[in-house]
């Protein structure tokens, strides 16, 4: 047993670090390390840089232009990128629709869509959730009626993340309303966001951000050639996609970066004239998160090692999701409490402007309350933590 990386893995880490040091734009890294949002164009800029290096799709197999990295390399890459302040991967193209197209799409679809995802030319978004159908995804109602070589799509999707920037949306639609079971009669469509009849309506969240949308479809014509796989078999592809969604869910690298930020803030803030980090209660709260994070890091490595052997992430991913998100929330909470009343001035987030105005107090205080509010989502989305506990009790405990 050896928790350390081997020589080969260490060399790879060095390669990643060098690349990040040389190529990661300083303005982007600064924003991220300050807890500030970046602009859509920054994500694309970074994707193009990665693509140039051949690292546009770390998780794809080589045949489609991916790196072919194994789980440990992927992990090293993710952690280093997070620590350096690289943008997170917007998953909808690279990690969601692409694996589905690779596995179930036809060669024409693969050639048409994958290279543009890799290069950052196409921004994808997700059309899964509908109002009233959260965890119960299969109850979706958006209709697709076949008319010749087109489907006519009508309905409404919600919780669509960053769709305002998207060129394409992948959608689950009900193509057979008479199927005997909910899960049957669903098809998987790729839809050009420029198609007439699509309306994107912002959902403003309590942190003031425009991160999610409702997407309305009104008689939207979608060529049949944009259907992935068989008609009415979409649920199979949807489940496949959800199995891929949890990649790097533990978020250890990003949490380490945020822990450092927390410590930096708590060293600057004063309590009774001394740095807050020296207050015994606050120090113990920081230590608790740090210790939990150390444990999560190893639990994550164990899951990786298992994945490397079995080639499939198991229900253990639920453990990573729960602990990972609890730690993320604890970090945002402690940072907010660290600045006390200066967390209150509301620097409204705007990913358009790539900035978050600090209206009063130290620069670092600006985004903290908004981020705290925003991070309430992490225990809700991607299968709420309650759902994750259901999964553990069913899949691991056998209940």
């Amino acid at each position: 047993m050896d928790l350390n990386f081997n020589a080969e893995e260490l060399a790879f880490r060095e390669e990643v670090r060098t690349f990040l040091r040389e190529k990661l734009p300083a303005d982007i890294a600064k924003q991220i390390k300050s807890g500030l949002p970046i602009r859509a164009q920054d994500y694309t800029r970074w994707q193009k840089i990665l693509h140039e290096r051949g690292w546009g799709a770390p998780s794809w197999p080589k045949q489609f232009g991916g790196t072919g990295w194994g789980p440990v390399q992927l992990h090293i890459y993710d952690e280093e990128a997070a620590a350096a302040g690289a943008p997170r991967t917007i998953p909808f193209g690279l990690k969601m629709v692409a694996p589905v197209i690779m596995a179930f799409g036809n060669p024409a679809q693969q050639q048409r869509f994958l290279p543009r995802i890799l290069s950052g030319e196409d921004w994808w978004c997700q059309g899964y959730s509908e109002p009233g159908a959260g965890s119960d995804l299969a109850s979706l109602k958006t209709r697709a009626e076949r008319q010749g070589d087109h489907y006519i799509v009508n309905g409404q999707k919600t919780w669509n993340t960053l769709g305002q920037h998207a060129d394409w949306i992948f959608c689950l639609v009900r193509s057979d309303p008479n199927a005997p079971k909910q899960q049957q009669g669903i098809s998987f469509l790729l839809i050009d966001m420029k198609t007439p009849g699509i309306t994107v309506r912002p959902i403003i969240t309590m942190d003031g951000a425009h991160e999610v949308n409702e997407v309305w479809f009104e008689n939207v014509k979608v060529p049949v050639e944009n259907r992935v796989g068989e008609e009415n078999k979409g649920w199979t592809y949807a489940k496949f996609l959800l199995g891929h969604e949890r990649t790097n869910i533990a978020g250890v690298g990003a949490s380490k970066r945020e822990l450092e930020r927390l410590k930096a803030i708590a060293s600057k803030e004063l309590k009774n004239g001394k740095p807050l980090i020296e207050d015994p209660l606050f120090a113990s709260r920081v230590a608790q998160v740090e210790i939990d994070l150390i444990a999560l890091e190893i639990t994550n490595l164990r899951a990786l090692a298992q994945e490397a052997e079995k080639h499939a992430p198991g229900p253990e991913a639920s453990v990573l999701k729960i602990k990972g998100t609890e730690i993320q929330q604890a970090l945002t909470e402690l940072m907010m409490y660290a600045v006390g009343p200066y967390a209150l001035p509301f620097g409204r987030a705007s990913s358009e402007e790539g900035d978050l105005r600090t209206v009063a107090g130290p620069d670092y205080a600006g985004p903290l309350a908004a981020t705290y509010c925003n991070f309430r989502k992490v225990t809700i989305y991607g299968g709420s933590n309650e759902i994750q506990r259901n999964i553990i009790s069913q899949m691991i405990l056998g209940l």
């Binding site: 969240t205 001035p345 107090g361 309350a369 309430r376």
Partner: protein, 379 residues
């Protein structure tokens, strides 16, 4: 032992609740939030019309001379409606301070306008690094000729931008955290050297940073005895904590009700999510928390004017701890149980959540009050 309210108190509570229900809808509040000032003079006048601005003003100065229990009932109702007008800052805190400074002239000058709601007078005390410590004052007032020159910085002053006049705490002697040497001055926010930077806060309220740079005030602007304001400030602080606790309790009641409603109507896998035992127990815990918080808001109201300082401090800090922890739990779980919808600006629950968050960050957080409780021996 008696947990009943007087008929007058019942009437007051009903009146304010009716105002919130009928005159302060979520949509109406949304319009107010969008406005430049971030609060509504019309709504303020309505509150004044109900007598709320006179509530804590002595009878001699045209007020109702009500007590903390009345304030509790009002804050409860205002909390439920997330009323953003400066009732706490201008009609609770300032009267509490002014009453404690024993300055007849200032009282006679200021109270009548406060009672009618015409003048908004705001206490500017908090500074960066205060963290709830009432004696943390670095702003200095130096004697100069007939008056004083004030230099310092006050931060996140609740409704500071709405002030017609400020009451500023400044040190006329002593070191930054000495209890002795703190004085209160009347300051015109438009005076030379005063810079008021107004902003909105996450909870939909407004606040201001107030910079004082060589601000000249006459000797007559001193309120109360020079250097002796600390015990008045501390007493005011306890009154303010009591009011905040009551506000949080009103919010939690609303949050629990809306969460219950939401989980009963929201279906997943064909059944209302309220049928899931885990969520039922979560809501039972939310109820438990809010019951304990309610108890402590009663204690806070009764004890915030207790003459025994240690008893007062311990009770108020204990109340702030219980209410802070409850507010955090209830708020976070309400969002969690509302799922994505709870994250949106569109539902009242996210606004309730933000105000609960702000309350925990105001006047000293849970850690601060735990430590203050420990440091204060039982009577």
């Amino acid at each position: 032992m008696d947990f009943n309210f007087t008929e007058e108190q019942q009437l007051l509570a009903d009146t304010v609740r009716r105002f919130v229900r009928e005159g302060y809808s979520f949509e109406h509040r949304r319009e107010i939030l969008k406005s430049a000032d971030g609060w509504s003079r019309d709504s303020w006048n309505e509150l004044a019309g109900l007598g709320l601005t006179a509530l804590n003003v002595p009878e001699a100065h045209g007020g109702l001379n009500a007590g903390p229990v009345d304030t509790m009932l009002v804050m409860n109702a205002l909390g439920e409606g997330l009323v953003v007008e400066p009732f706490l800052a201008a009609a609770v805190v300032t009267p509490a301070l002014l009453s404690r400074l024993n300055d007849e002239k200032a009282a006679a000058d200021l109270f009548p306008g406060i009672a009618t709601g015409e003048r908004i007078v705001i206490f500017a005390h908090q500074e960066p690094g205060t963290r709830g410590e009432t004696s943390h004052v670095t702003t200095r007032a130096e004697k100069s000729g007939d008056g004083y020159v004030i230099d310092g910085y006050k931060n996140v002053v609740s409704h500071g931008g709405a002030a017609d006049e400020l009451l500023v705490s400044a040190r006329t002697s002593g070191k930054p955290t000495d209890a002795d040497g703190i004085s209160i001055f009347r300051v015109d926010p438009k005076a030379t050297g005063v810079a008021v930077k107004t902003y909105k806060t996450i909870d939909g309220q407004t606040a201001a940073d107030v910079e004082l740079k060589g601000v000249k005030v006459p000797a007559s602007s001193l309120v109360g005895a020079a250097g002796k304001a600390h015990s008045a400030i501390e007493g005011t602080y306890e009154v303010a904590i009591s009011a905040l606790c009551a506000e949080a309790v009103g919010i939690m009641k609303a949050v629990n009700a809306t969460t219950l409603e939401y989980t009963k109507s929201r279906k997943q896998f064909g059944v209302p999510i309220a049928k899931f035992q885990v969520l039922q127990h979560r809501m039972a815990d939310m109820f438990l928390h809010s019951e304990q918080a309610l108890s402590m808001s009663y204690l806070a109201a009764i004890k915030c004017t207790d003459p025994d300082r240690n008893e007062r401090v311990r009770s108020l800090s204990a109340a702030k701890v219980v209410v802070g922890q409850s507010a955090r739990f209830v708020g976070q779980q309400a969002i969690q149980l509302h799922g994505g919808m709870g994250m949106t600006d569109e539902l009242m629950v996210s606004h309730h959540f933000k105000r609960l968050t702000a309350i925990d960050l105001t006047l000293g957080d849970t850690d601060f009050h735990t430590q203050r409780f420990i440091a204060t021996p039982a009577g």
